[in-house]
Amino acid sequence: MNRIDNTLNKEGKLLSIYFTAGHPNLNDTVDIILKLQESGVDMIEIGLPFSDPLADGPTIQDSSTVAIKNGMNTNVLFEQLNGIRNRVSIPLIIMGYFNPILQFGVEEFCKKCNQVGIDGLIIPDLPIDYYEENYKSIFKKYKIYNMFLIAPQTSDERIKKIDSISDGFIYMVSSSSITGSKESFSSKQLEYFERINKMNLKTPRITGFGVGNKDTFNAAVNYSKGAIIGSAFIKNLESNGLKSIERFIKNIRI
């Protein structure tokens, strides 16, 4: 049981926000986290920027490029997060591509996460089998959850397997698509949500990719425990700055 489970066990639908650490400015990380918590967000994905984020659309790619240019890297992020648990109680998840984590050392990375109070990781390009064989025990040792993705083309069989080994939640990718917000979901997407819903998985799902406004959020949480907003949040941050965070969240939650 960690903070993620506690949150998932809450009544109601969860709003989770993704942002890229180090963007718009290097030292915005903690401020953004605090403002998100203040605004009533349930969970936060802190993006560890990578030079070649191949599952992401232009918004996240650009924010990553800026963040890296600003000087963000794994060490800096952990420094910034040092002490965060004195001020933040909602689950904090680091979402990042595998290579920076590999370079840092997977064990060292998990240890640091544990130290600063990170609850879990989402590593989109770390395959399940490889994780199980090589890293699962390390994650366990440091009590770090690893959340896996499922997507519309993922087979039922594979979904069941993922369900069986998942900690926390399953990250349900809303469409065959890279990240980037959409105005609404298509009937095909809703069918897919429905299909997964009917599978009665043991692990709760949080929907991500293409969630960006009140409508898509509501549609997504109709079929899952919660939803993650990324690109739309980053765009808003870029245009309107940190002061606009509260309003952005309110507009979703209305």
């Binding site: 790619q61 290579n99 770390l126 993705l149 997507a151 083309q153 087979s155």
Partner: protein
């Protein structure tokens, strides 16, 4: 088999398929089918017929008399420059287009740097009447205008990759993104022995025709199937993989892999992955990779667009680590001079990629009887502007 891919898609500790879940079904479909399809008799027939009648295979194994005299050994050139579209790249695209058709795909995407793989892909798509989209860095589109024109003449759409440094690495990212967005209709033709499993193995298999032919050709010319040395340039490593493939398990045949040192290994402008790289993940594959301490991928540099890649295929990382292959790094200026020398001595203007392999000769010491087979991976027509400017022709 020490040097072929294992069941999990690894060469020793390198390889694998480090891709987002969205791509898992595509790779799973490929992985489940590629060997079955490739070994299918009808496929083999189609593939071999196209290689013969369309690509122009077998490509000759040419004894380079004047180079041999100069470097005091027996130098044979495997003439991939004579392939349709001018390089070995098409061996792979022919194989993959046939495979894509058998998988029922309706649309092809590919990445390209210098444009050779893009042209080879656009070519087979024209041949088979399949829609084709080529991703190419915006910077490369500008500097490789003739290849862009070739792709367009062949009916392909060329899409500019505007992210990152706007070169090959970013074009690859864009192609992968397209694939994520179009997982069912589309097959992604990767152009080298890079990317997630099963690509490195699949591409190597399609390129293995190179060493298969050499065995028969050497037997005829030298009364042995086995050279003493194989010498190839390495970008991602597909021409090298083709050259080595049927000799990997025969350790009497020595392997020399030549990388691009750019302006020098220590200059900060280099693509010498064997020296500068550390184990990491790029484009879905665990391999040697030029990266910062934080694991950000470093943009490489070489005068040759085809060698301007921050990694090598996982097979090559494994060959280096297991000492099966020796690696050398060749600077821009050595490569350019070698290109000129080969042109003047043998009447064949090499691609600058290929020229890197020839530049190695002056640093090597062969015995007079040593048979050295060099993969003449491509012709220099695409590089004329660079040669003209460099030598003020």
């Amino acid at each position: 088999m020490k040097y072929t891919v294992d069941k999990k898609g690894f060469y020793g500790k390198y390889g694998g398929a480090f891709v987002p879940e969205m791509l898992f079904p595509n790779l799973d479909e490929l992985e489940k089918n590629y060997n079955k399809i490739i070994n299918d008799k009808e496929f083999q027939n189609d593939y071999n017929n196209l290689l013969r009648d369309y690509v122009g295979r077998p490509t000759p194994l040419f004894f380079a008399e004047r180079l041999s005299e100069k470097y005091k050994c027996k130098i044979y050139l495997k003439r991939e420059d004579l392939c349709h579209t001018g390089a070995h790249k098409i061996n792979n695209t022919i194989g993959q287009i046939l495979l894509a058709k058998r998988l029922g795909k309706k649309r092809i995407i590919a990445e390209t740097g210098a444009g050779q793989h893009g042209v080879a892909t656009a070519t087979v798509c024209a041949l088979k009447g399949i829609e084709c989209v080529i991703y190419m860095g915006a910077v490369d589109i500008k500097r490789q205008a003739p290849n862009v024109a070739r792709m367009k003449m062949l009916g392909a759409s060329v899409v500019a990759a505007e992210s990152g440094s706007k070169t090959l690495k970013d074009a690859t990212n864009e192609a992968i993104r397209d694939w994520i967005n179009n997982p069912i209709t589309t097959h992604y033709i990767i152009g080298s022995v890079v990317g997630p499993h099963p690509y490195p193995d699949m591409v190597a298999k399609f390129q293995s025709i190179v060493s298969e032919e050499i065995k028969a050709q050497l037997l005829e010319k030298e009364n042995t199937q086995n050279p003493n040395y194989l010498l190839a340039n390495i970008g991602g490593g597909s021409n090298a993989a083709g050259l080595y493939y049927n000799y990997l398990e025969n350790e009497n045949v020595k392997i020399i892999s030549v990388e691009a040192a750019g302006e020098g290994v220590k200059s900060g402008k280099s693509a010498a992955t064997s020296v500068l790289g550390k184990t990491g993940i790029i484009h879905g594959s665990k391999t040697l990779l030029m990266q910062t301490n934080d694991g950000q991928i470093i943009e490489p540099y070489s005068i040759s667009a085809g060698l301007d890649y921050p990694g090598v295929g996982p097979l090559h990382a494994h060959l280096l680590e297991s000492k099966r292959a020796e690696f050398m790094s060749i600077t821009d200026s050595d490569a350019m001079l070698a290109g000129l020398e080969v042109s003047k001595l043998e009447g064949i203007i090499p691609a600058i990629e290929t020229a890197h392999a020839f530049a190695a000769f002056k640093y090597l010491d062969f015995k007079t009887n040593d048979i050295v087979v060099v993969n003449f991976s491509g012709r220099g027509d695409k590089d004329l502007d660079t040669y003209i400017e460099y030598f003020n022709l």
